[in-house]
């Protein structure tokens, strides 16, 4: 009898361990807003969302926030003649691309910070040589103001700097964005382990949208 009770206690304790499905945090700044719902004043949290944008992709087609409205996406900043971290980043990003190839719910958005040289045709050639076809992986070019203006919104540092190899300084973050344009994760794109974590997190995020 005593034994039975003990087993029951152990089983009960273990059952508490089966966690509810994992959820990714929402990153960035947030503010509390007060509003009136059904005559009652409630406080709600307003999370940071990415502003709308307009760039040209590798096919010279305009892309905006609407292009990504039905998908989560991974954003990064690079340039095609980058001699330092970009080849590592995109070697890792190719793995992400290959894993979700054909899944319209997952897209990639790579912004070129070399706004002079990286025209859509240069980006197209780059994409082809990387083995990328179709429009699941978008390579964005835009004006200096628009590209350098949006990178801080993704919490990624970019800067023109002729003191560094290649002439541009930037961080290698891969930023995971959900369908509500909220940032859900940041991963060091030069680290294979972190990129593996990104792919795990993409799977977790996709589950949020399963019906």
């Amino acid at each position: 009898m005593n034994k039975l009770v003990r087993v029951a206690i152990i089983l009960f304790t273990l059952s508490a361990c089966t966690s509810s499905p994992k959820k990714l945090p929402i990153l960035g700044s947030r503010e509390a807003v007060t509003k009136v719902v059904d005559g009652q004043t409630v406080v709600d949290t307003l999370y940071q969302t990415l502003p709308d944008f307009e760039f040209l992709n590798q096919d010279s087609v305009p892309i905006t926030g609407k292009t990504f409205e039905n998908s989560i996406y991974v954003a990064d900043f690079f340039f095609t003649s980058c001699p330092s971290i970009c080849p590592i980043m995109h070697r890792n990003m190719v793995n992400v691309y290959n894993k979700y190839k054909g899944n319209p719910e997952v897209m990639i958005l790579s912004h070129s910070i070399d706004t002079k040289y990286d025209t859509p045709s240069v980006l197209k050639k780059y994409a082809e040589k990387l083995g990328v076809s179709g429009n699941q992986w978008q390579f964005a070019s835009g004006t200096k103001e628009s590209i350098y203006g949006i990178s801080p919104k993704y919490m990624v540092f970019t800067e023109e700097n002729d003191q560094v190899a290649g002439g541009f300084e930037h961080q290698g973050w891969f930023i995971l964005v959900d369908k509500e344009k909220q940032i859900r994760g940041a991963y060091q794109g030069t680290e294979e382990k972190e990129v593996q974590k990104l792919m795990d997190d993409i799977d977790i995020l996709l589950k949020e949208y399963e019906k």
Binding site: P83, S84, I85, P87, I88, H90, R91, V94, Y126, E128, K129, L130, G131
Partner: protein, 142 residues
């Protein structure tokens, strides 16, 4: 009689030791160049060519084409130092990108790197000396 045998054994042992130590001399050099080459490769080459020498799509050629490495062995020092541009065929694929020059590298650093690349990723060129590097650099015509 017994003394003679002992002497004989000593001499044979001595010759063996000498031969063995000569061999390990080159082996040690090879190992030293290889280890230094791994560090230099990680600093100067790996970002683009990858930890496994796999390259990147059609942008950056791999270092795993053993035939290419063997046949172009005497050009590699110059390619590293002065950079590469124009078409090249590696592993049956055409590449046409620019590899930046690394003119700041010294001949011995280049020798380290060639020893590492030449004996990794499936390549097996054996020991590649600093003297050979200097000779190859002097005779390099892109």
């Amino acid at each position: 009689m017994r003394n003679k045998l002992l002497y004989g054994a000593f001499i044979v042992l001595g010759i063996c030791t000498l031969l063995y130590s000569c061999q390990t001399g080159e082996e040690i050099d090879k190992a030293r160049y290889y280890i230094n080459g791994k560090l230099a490769y990680e600093t100067h080459c790996q970002n683009c060519h990858g930890a496994k020498g796999e390259g990147l799509g059609l942008l950056i050629p791999p270092l795993t084409d053993t035939t290419y490495i063997r046949e172009n062995l005497n050009s590699i020092a110059g390619m590293i130092k002065y950079g590469v541009s124009g078409e090249m065929v590696v592993g049956g694929q055409v590449y046409n990108e620019v590899m930046p020059a690394e003119t700041h590298l010294t001949p011995v650093e280049i020798a380290y790197i060639i020893n590492y690349i030449g004996n990794s990723f499936g390549n097996n060129i054996g020991f590649y000396s600093q003297e050979q590097t200097q000779k190859d650099l002097a005779g390099y015509r892109p």
